[in-house]
Subunit: 286 residues, 4 copies
């Protein structure tokens, strides 16, 4: 179980989203309210886009609440699109290669939740990853494998379709092995221009996910908050648990839906998984 | 705020005290019940006596709950007297030199609590440390300074007297600087033969401390617990918060008192601090 | 490139082998003479057998030369059979799950060298690992994969045969992919009773390996060395690079041979790899 | 013994100075040529100025050569003035609070060298630090203490004078205690606008220090190097050991002199220490 945050909008210093708000993500590393675990102290990571060619990633195995380097970097890095993730490990080692966000080229990917019965179906899922991607898997997590499955299914071309296929394969594999609820979670991914955030679980009771209301509406509600004046009209936060102290600021992302935000966009759409075509299922089963 | 445990008795594998009991110290690193903080994730340490000349110390900045090395070592080290400490940092860095237990020669020392207004009186207290000890202070904590004050006041000869003088100096210094409650906490120290555990605070509302009941009495209460058969008659645990699932196993150490255990001993005594004689106070003030 | 040491004989404090000798393994972490790299600062590990059911393992990502915990533990752990390894990473992350020795049940395994073209053949080799072992692979290293191949081929029943088959598969896979020299290195493995140490490379120019001369012979050569009096007659050290200052103490393990030591044994035998039978090769290719 | 680098000039991505040049600082972490030690693997740090109010600092206890986070950050942080330091610890712990650069307000400070007999005179020097600064000393190093002495002597107003007084006090204290050569080293400090780099030792044989030649002169020498076109006319590097492959690019900073660079300045000046006035010496001796 983990907590995460994704931002897109006018460039801000990351600390403003990470440390400043009431019940901030850093505070949630010690005292999450809506999570399956109250403590998310098994490492963290941030990923951000700036003027350089690809995203930067900073990951650490320290708890976020006591990491001086995170505080320093968050206070100096400005970004128009960034991810932050705090981890509560379930089973896999606390090491940087297991920390989110994961990166491939220009893409970042992070997740709160799990693949059910992962130990049982790990090998089958790994075999379904494109051969060219397999050797670059660096850690042990279900999330990194899911990311590689999504890449295999075309994440870079059509994120919602690729995530739908990746989860579809996880569900098919899991059910073949008698796992009742093979997937649980919320996922965020980005190419640096837009971000996509998914909420879905096999059992239909997914981890929480929230989406910030349109900034123009928030400014009307809270005319005396200078931070809202600084943000661009299309700024959006997606969070696994609300931060800050502005009632009415958050829209719950419904079950089985996703958010796309950035480049003027900002909307909710329904999400359904795509079961593997027979050939792909065969491949995963082999 | 921290949690700690000290054991003396027949040699046991440390894991039996650290991981095995219900609501173990490792469990308390995530979910303390009686502490000022529920999470004690800012590093940990163990110190143990065995056949080698001095005690061994293993300290880490990882949270105890996810440290594989601690699990390994605790499962392999047998000791007749050991300390374990999990830390919740208040202000000072998460680094090994700030982790308890601290060591000097054959002596170990650990603490749950704080010196009030430490920033204000740190220099005065440091000046009161023996000149020969000062350069070996390695970290930034109030506890390490307190240990060095106790060593300065003769810890190696008479622990209760030295601790009483050290806290007495802290209180005198603190009150000179207008600090209302200069000392808070529980302290354990040992030379490998006996252990002393103190409960005291300037305000008279000290951090919790518990002492295990006489093993013979426990055996009578719980005739079906094999672990109690294995322990020697004089085995004792002192803990900041009860562990295990045996009602009646724990005696609360009263306010302003201390436990001495080991070598057949095991008793509670009253504790009062010793205000500095004028010369020492002057020295600390200079 | 790495350096390692394996000991079997009468129980000794690990520090006596690790820190005390001239040009010790710890010294080699900064200044190796015979290695491909002079610095082995990318983590380390020790594994030891004692009275507990399985071996203990302590691994860290710090350089061995500056790790206080290693110094503490090595000074307190007594063992009749232990491994120590210092790492110079080539490509894979510096994380505990990539540090040697690796463990499975009662078995330890460590390696100095590499699988050539590992990125190219990693997936093929991973597919040849027994399905029951695959999900427990924790790190990214060629060594851990090799260990799992050896386990697949029966390491627990016949170590030389299993290692010969594992390397045979690596060579077959590598050559199918046009890799000229697929395997290079020295390997140590143990079940806590005996240890096996292999020296082999596809090109016939293997990493160095040395075996300590019979203790009785050494005592005759050096009658004034008390350490030799303390060691049992069957004590043996196997090292990637000689330690200590006793000329004549070391026998170079020849190319394509292995040492078996422990339980009174201590001898050199020839080693040759076993090419995969067609079925196994097919399986790895699939 | 350590290695360091300081840059001032037009904003560049830190990686261009840290990783790109031949014999870069990162390369020197494994293979220094001019240093007292060839390996500088006991942690590192960078400090940089940007648009935010104070400098950012990123410090780690990993060797610089294998730290993924350093590589990420260096590839994303642009700065007009930054410091980088790789550490070879002599005696003090490998922990972030002992890593350079140190910071106070807008000021950064780093050092290659040592205070001779530091253990002996540490307390005396600590007593000479301004009372308001003392409690914020976080680590154990001679350098952090020297920085605090320089701050005590007015670093923020007149860096050369303050450094001269700080070293003067070190020399006086040392000599009182029979230490022959109390100070050795090179020092860099900055307020974000200019940087000062000092070369001095009590014995007159100081650690090496080099200053990059005027960029206009370098452009004339190397008309085909695009990097030189990108740099502003006043860009300067100060390094403990030359980097890159441009003969003639470096001017050795002579014994007992200092460089001031930035804001159009860039020159060498003589440096001599200031012995403590009797009152200050008395204060340090008390």
């Amino acid at each position: 179980m983990c907590r995460w945050l994704a931002y897109t909008g006018s460039p801000v210093v990351i600390a403003e989203a990470l440390y400043a708000p009431a019940h901030s993500l850093i505070d949630q590393s010690l005292h999450a309210r809506l999570g399956a675990e109250t403590t998310n102290g098994d490492g963290f990571g941030i990923g951000w886009y700036d003027a350089e060619p690809g995203p930067g990633v900073f990951r650490s195995i320290e708890p976020a609440w006591n990491d001086d380097n995170l505080r320093e970097l968050a206070g100096h890095i400005r970004s128009h699109l960034f991810f932050a993730h705090i981890r509560a490990a379930i089973g896999s080692a606390v090491q940087q290669t297991n920390c989110h966000p994961f990166r491939h080229g220009r893409w970042l990917f992070m997740h709160n939740g799990y693949i059910g019965g992962f130990h049982t179906i790990k090998r089958s899922l790994a075999l379904a990853v494109a051969e060219s991607l397999y050797p670059d898997i660096k850690g042990q997590t279900d999330t990194e494998l899911l990311f590689n499955l999504a890449l295999t299914f075309g994440l870079e071309d059509d994120p919602p379709s690729a995530v739908a296929q990746a989860i579809g394969l996880v569900e098919a594999c899991g059910r073949e092995h008698g796992i009742e609820d093979p997937f649980q979670g919320t996922i965020a991914t980005s190419d640096g221009e837009r971000l996509w955030a998914f909420r879905y679980s096999s059992e239909g009771k997914s981890r929480s996910l929230f989406f910030s209301r349109d900034i123009r509406a928030l400014r009307a509600l809270y005319p005396d908050r200078p931070i809202l004046e600084q943000l661009s009209d299309d700024a959006r936060l997606v969070v696994s648990e609300p931060i800050g102290d502005l009632p009415g600021a958050w829209i719950e992302v419904p079950e089985a839906s996703y958010v796309v935000a950035g480049e003027g966009e900002g909307e909710l759409r329904p999400f359904s998984v795509t079961p593997p075509a027979s050939s792909a299922a065969t491949r995963a089963r082999s």
